[in-house]
């Protein structure tokens, strides 16, 4: 469960999502992990503003593939967001090293009827993770995470 603050540029509004993520399936092997999640949530704009979808990923120490489909139903507009992300690690670091991933991400949004593909670079070391991507439509796509 979690809370996310959303600034939706195409629809020019801001709101809070109370979200719930549930692990549907996971497969661990000596060299890989695959996950499939269901996600749903409701917006601070009211109970008739909600979303649901699935997302999943598969990764080894060298390769990554992820996807997600999310349907949002809101007062003003119903729309669907999809993404596909593929990446590789240019080197395989040991525990404690700086780890680097080079990725490409494609996003499609039915509200704006746009599709965009852009590069993403991801670093993590220790408990800190930093991910940055850039695309023409929504500009910077930045994620920071620190494990407490």
């Amino acid at each position: 469960m979690g809370v996310e603050f959303v600034k939706n540029k195409p629809l020019i509004n801001e709101y809070v999502n109370f979200r719930f993520t549930y692990l549907l399936n996971r497969n661990n092997t000596p060299n890989s992990q695959r996950n499939l999640y269901m996600q749903s949530g409701v917006s601070s704009n009211g109970l008739d503003n909600f979303f649901y979808g699935i997302h999943g990923d598969w990764e080894t120490r060298r390769l990554f593939a992820g996807f997600g489909i999310k349907k949002t139903e809101a007062k003003v507009l119903n729309y669907k967001e999809e993404f596909l992300q593929l990446g590789f690690a240019p080197y395989v670091g040991a525990y404690g090293d700086l780890h680097t991933w080079l990725m490409i991400k494609t996003k499609k949004n039915s509200a704006t009827d746009t599709s965009t593909t852009y590069p993403v670079i991801k670093f993590f070391k220790g408990n800190a993770l930093f991910e940055v991507g850039y695309n023409n439509s929504s500009e910077w796509d930045v994620h920071l995470m620190y494990r407490l």
């Binding site: 992990q33 080197y91 040991a94 525990y95 590069p119 993590f124 408990n127 993770l129």
Partner: protein, 135 residues
């Protein structure tokens, strides 16, 4: 701006590839340590990582846990943190390449594989084997 970003991305790639080559040259090329335990099972660990781990340990038990699904450093951090909460645990390290977690316990501590399995599972991975060495 986009071209600048792509150039930065390519430059970063070259830097990390060079770093990898540098790290590769510094690595020990003896591979994994294959030693036979008293019960006849084979101990397969990274010798450099394992030697570093046990080098300052005395009067301890070392649990070598084989883990499936431990593919990233960030996930392994969670495993290490979970074990460090255990008062019987004195040291934890991870061999990502070998899929192993090294846990040093106090010499008189009881090591329960079911408890270890639960700790690993709570982080999203599966413990598949346990070997214990007394130092």
């Amino acid at each position: 701006m986009k071209n600048l970003y792509l150039c930065c991305l390519i430059a970063c790639s070259l830097v990390v590839l060079a770093a990898e080559e540098s790290m590769h040259q510094m690595h020990d090329h003896e591979g994994h340590l294959h030693d036979t335990m008293v019960d006849g099972s084979l101990l397969k660990v990274n010798p450099v990582r394992f030697d570093n781990f046990v080098s300052k340990l005395t009067e301890a038990q070392v649990a070598i846990i084989s883990v499936n699904g431990m593919v990233c450093d960030f996930c392994a951090r969670g495993i290490a943190k979970t074990f460090k909460k255990d008062r019987a645990v004195t040291k934890v390290d991870v061999d990502l390449a070998g899929g192993k977690v090294f846990v040093a316990y106090k010499i008189n501590a009881k090591i329960d594989f079911e408890d270890i399995k639960e700790k690993i599972l709570s982080n999203g991975q599966n413990a598949t084997n346990l070997q214990v060495i007394k130092i």
